[in-house]
Amino acid sequence: MTSKIVLLGADRAGEAPHSVPGAESLPPLEESVAYVRALGKPTAAQVLQDARESGRVAIQPRCGVGGHEEMKALLRDLEAQAAPDILTLTIDAHTRLKRFEQALRTLNRDPRDLNGYPLVTHGWQRGRDLNESVAAPLEIRHGSPDARALFDVSVASGITSFEGGGISYNLPYSKAVPIAESLAAWEDVDRVCGRLAELGLIIDRELFGTLTAVLVPPSISLAISVVEAVLAARAGVRCISVAYPQSGHLVQDVAALRTIPLLARRYLPEGVQVHAVFHEFMGVFPRGRGHAEDLIFYGALVARLGGASKLITKTYQEAYGIPDTRANVEGLRLASRANSPLLDFVAVDADRVAEEQQWILAEVADIVEPLLEQPDLKAAVAQALERGTLDIPFSASRYAKSEIIPKRDAEGAIRYLSAGSLPLSRRALRRNDELLRRSEAGGADPGLGSLLADLTGDINYFLTLFGESDREGTS
């Protein structure tokens, strides 16, 4: 168990890097770049590039526990037993919200009460210690509207991949952080990535297209990633990973993944490396172990079919809580099977994928092009969220209208029952309507009660599919 520690670096929270007292304790960027070079492991960007070139999907777990020694053991065990391509430090929910004091208090009381690793509290020397104890590069995964303190400690730790974005790590993760603030904070992060790139170190900046994870229409996920990617590239980021969450519908998911390189070509400058990342199903997970494992393998197979560079795995304990090491190992090993050379024969209907792709591209264009035309993209984003012309379902934040109502069609693909104020074309809206109408037996306008029931049914899609109707599966 970790011995008591005092707070390091947290005093800089919310401040621009290198401008506050306490920053002296962090090494200069140059030193961190030299450190990474001397570390003798590939950067996350290199691993992603290699995966793409060899036609494999790189595999990465979610993992984070409160105590330092426990975190080190977790990383080592995962590497020894499942050899993921990239490892994760998942950060606890206090740190995400800059509740550093609470993180520290919990850490000192009982690190097991933390749902992630409080890196800021542990400090960058311990970050390096983690980094040095495994061969795979690390990524920081969190959910911080303002991640600057965390990012500084991450860079000082020699960590080469950092998740988040001014929209995707605000709306799903906080209630009352104005979007202009989070965009500004993430612009700071991205600028530092730009400087690091000039110093020769490429940081992989992953955008959290998963958003609120539950029934997110693909064009919403991708549109927000496009906006964040454009902002990141303008700030100097050179490697961008676009994460897309499994909807559960084969054609829709493969189409969405395959759309990512097209979007990159259309909206991003050359010279920016862009990777598609697939998140195994991020919504309500089946409770039965076999069912969860079916979904885990299926997700990994879809990642392969969609040409993702990387997959983020789940475990059969997802429905219950933070997984133990063994469950995490088994999730990774199972997902790895989808990379098997023996599965080359598995294919998906190319025509249907191409058709779906055209629609996704068109919807994304409807949403992002009015924004990208604006001279001040950050301001345009804030305004669009206020008006609902950019929006997400189930927002945790007041700064999105959350008018969108998603619904699964008869085949299980996620469509817009209501697109709220999104500027979708008539054609797109008509197609969404038609696809959804096909799934209504009667076609009558559903009342509010049935709307809630429908929504719950769609949220619990995989529970129903596996016959776990009462939410009580077998573990």
Partner: protein, 144 residues
Amino acid sequence: MQQRKIILGVAASDAHAVANHLIAHALRGIGYTVVNLGTCTPVEEFAEACREHPDAEAVVIGSLNGHIHEDLRDLAATKAEGAIRCPVIVGGNLSVGSKKDPAALERLYRLGVDRIVNDPAALPAVLDELRATRPVAEPLLAVS
């Protein structure tokens, strides 16, 4: 007749919004006035809402991310001060990890939680029961 009212929210470090949205919708659907404070709501914000809505029957707090104990750290003190007078109901995923230790629930009661409810569908019955047994003088009509 006045509508029944509750204060709803998600614990301070917790951003899980979906169950919160659905529970609010569902309670409104059966006639409740729901003051929904949404995600990331510290205890003091619940207390403030109680001041603004003295007629609220209960404070209903969801927590999924495992941090409920730290997030409700000030609850007992807040109740002792009288800033929260109505019963506090908590539901969700109430500890970190996949294997659940009942001790985690004990700790919650010690923090000042009055009721722990698993299934949102059980909320109306629990609210009725709390109302029926509440130590206040004013006469109340029990509605189901």
